[in-house]
Amino acid sequence: MITFILKRLGSGLVVLFAVSILVFSLLYVSSGSIARNILGDQATPDQLAVKEAELGLDQPIITRYFSWLAGALQGDLGTSWFTSEPVAHALATRIPVTMTMVIAAMLLISIIATLIGVAAAVKRGWVDRVVQIGAIIGDSVPGFVIGIILVTILAIQMGLFPATSTISPGVGADAWVLSLTLPVIALLINGVTGGAQQIRSAVIKQLERDYVRTLRSRGIGEREVLFKHVLRSAAPAGLTVLSLQLIGMLGGVVIIEQIFALPGMGPLAVAATSQSDQPVVMGVVMYTVAVVIVVNLIVDLLNGWLNPKVRAS
């Protein structure tokens, strides 16, 4: 087991390293404009040259990359070119907002999608049809559209929620809950409908298997068959779908945060990318890749725990 984890972590590091080289090279293309973008329209060539030297832009790309890498390995991700904020600090203040939302959405998706998916698989009939139709609608409406509809009805017309975030230091948990409710709903609808659909298919597939018939013939209760055996076998499929949804959500949350003005990773990523703020972009990308690697690792471990067959292979 430990070798497995170490192996996966090792390959994760290789991916991180490869992505860092790729992104760094891509950002290099637009770095010629950085000094001008910082100093404005009327800066003279001398002023531009001073700024470029200050940021190290006059160095060759290899030198710049390795100085970034050396810093990153020591935990120093550099300082934003535009705001002078240390990147590590920028990430540390924004990740909690984004991850609170993503984790809350994922927990709710897991519970609701499983309940609905199992119900559709077991009951079939009208329940199944409703779930199927819901899946099509849920999949075809993007999260940000759902977000805008929710704000218009629940926040502006009914006044139940704040239209944009009220999160700030000193506010109580209620402000967090209120500010995050609509964004989390906007995030989870696609996940719930998509997840329910996958879990439904997986459960149906398991219910048709021979072992279920054998279990039933031995007089084992329907509830035990479902929860002890069928769900366990169907879990790998569900977990894979959920992990893919979490990874997709890291992108979707960027737009949701813009609409709800949440001070999470979204505004940071958008501002940094549009300005080519290289240290911040690198920080955001490294964080995202790390999350993806960790999520995949956790899913593999969970699968092994749930299903001995996976562990053996």
């Binding site: 001008r36 309940l115 239209a163 609409i259 003005a261």
Partner: protein, 508 residues
Amino acid sequence: MKLGPKAAAAAILVSAGLALTACGGAAGGTGTAAAKTTTLTLGAVSEIRSWDPAQAHVGHALQPYQAAYDSLLLRQPDGKLSPMLATEWKYNDANTKLTVDLRTDVTFSDGAKFDAEAAKANLDHFKKANGPQMAQLTAVSDVAVVDADTIELNLTTPDPSLEFYLSQAAGLMGSPKALGTEAIKTEPVGSGPYVMDKAATVKDSQSVFTARKDYWNKDLQKFQKVTFKTLIDLTARTNALVSGQIDATLLDPKTGKQAEGAKMKLVATEVDWQGLLLLDRDGTKNPALANVKVRQAINYAFDRKTIVEQVLLGQGTPTSQPFGKASGAWTEELENYYSYDPAKAKALLKEAGYETGVVLDIPSVPGWETQLAVIKQQLADVGITVNIGAAITNTFTSDVAAQKFTTMFFSLFQGEPWVATNQIISTKALYNPFKNTTPELQAKIDAVEKGGKDAGKLAQEVNKYVVEQAWFAPMFRVNQMYYHNAKVTVEPQVQQAVPSIYNYSPAK
């Protein structure tokens, strides 16, 4: 028993119901705080990069700095300059030395005293801090302390915009003890009407200020608390305004309709002009553009009035001149110099020997797809082909400077005449990348530079020249649409999309 769908549905309904009732109660509570008119909450369109006054920006980015910092001069809503930290200021006859008398009763929020040394420290800091507006003090060679409350700014060349700059970023005064420190980047230390509530301030979310006790000018301090809520997304700004989370913010013609539906009030000001910049006037890369008749034909090809009605939903004014109404360089006769006349455009092209074959390559910038489509079509009607090419936003300004574009569509700030001249006309201007000039034009520009108080009037000649020579094809001045609720009154500020902080007051 199986766990049926009914049980699952019931569980979901119960939890959702609990969430809704909990939320309903608390939401009512947040609404009442905003009802008091002692607080002002503004939707800011961008985040402050650094609170170091030398990093301050112009236009809508200046407002937050005004909460924390006083400036040497105060710019009135109509653009007139009046005393603030400076009580009097005077040029010598050659306009190369500006003597400034300062107030003696002002302290910074950290207790440091404002005096001539402090003012010099700020101006020196501004010159070397590499801020986005550092060009504002380019003409100032050095700052001399005459006595405790007088400084002299020595200039290498006259700069008719200098007094204006001293009401802007270059005039913001921070505590000399804090300048250059790391701390001032996240927490401003000025002598302004408000001080930052650091505990309540969150980057990318909100900056909170409270009224400073014993502020020297109570007339400029009208609220107990001022909050700048960062709302970069237009939809978020609209939602925050109509739901009462903020008192005022900048919207656009489309979202403005929604705000008007919610009974918000509009403060409209014309700040930018949009149109074509016919950059390659010497025909270095596009020979057709060297011919003034071709450039004039382009100007005659546009039905500006209809474009304003349809593209801007009427929120703008058609114009043929690049200088703004409040600049002093604007004249009535140039306003409709090029009326819509496709026949005349065709005739001019024929005279120029370009009945066919004029091709304009215009880079596409996100957000102006509609304008570019209209331009393409109207120019096609007189026989000019437009190729719209992609532009990379991140490298756009560098590409302009590198002469990559011979023609471009852009939106440009209409500032003071000398500012505008150095932005789009003089050989130093970024938006004159081919460095076009003529001895005649240069003489007119020199006259503005040395013109002192008459700079605006003298710039009318520059304006007339570039309009007649069709350096540009201006289309319209755009209305900036600033909306506010009934709790506050807002006075528009000339040349600013977002008014100065002093222009807000509690509604009576």
